[in-house]
Amino acid sequence: MKKIIIDLLDNGEVHIETTGFQGPTCVEETQFLKDFLGRETFKRLIPAYFVRVKNKIIKKYLQLCG
């Protein structure tokens, strides 16, 4: 199941986490949230990002932080 979890903290910070998306769609699917909420200050792809797509592991999107 595609799921977006948004933690809206008491200090005004917003953390967005996605699960269940295939390929790079999680970033695309949450872009609308970031666009209307403000400015993205941090992004980290978590291990599930490195899925095999057409028998090829896409590593060029590797981004540990920033």
């Binding site: 977006i4 809206l8 200090n11 005004g12 910070e13 917003v14 967005i16 992004k43």
Partner: protein, 139 residues
Amino acid sequence: MSHISKVEVEIQSLDDLKKACQRLGLTFQEGQTSYKWYGRWVGDAPLPEGVKQEDLGKCAHAIHVPGADYEVGIVKTSNKYQLLWDSWSAGKLEKVLGKDAGLLKQAYAIERVKRESKLKGYRIQEKRIDNGIRLIMTL
């Protein structure tokens, strides 16, 4: 694939800010062009981006906070709105709004996410967590 992002909230929608005020029991004062504050810049904190000293105290709208002596001013700058307010403890705003008006930004973000996500067809669950509110959106 998954990822984690952090977003700094910017106020872009007055409608959602009004809903956030309702959520927190604050009063949105449409068209009020000044807000209550200490009244004199003492330089104990940096001025908000794009705001000059002579702009302080002036606004396009304001927010009245029950129990506080000071108010929040709302100023439009380019494509967003800025919240101007005096965090000096005597004004009692920080007690209600949290540090850096975090609770007001949180309430705004909740209203904004709910409205926009429904348009996209997401189902939304809201629950309280230790340090905030969690919205779970599912398709």
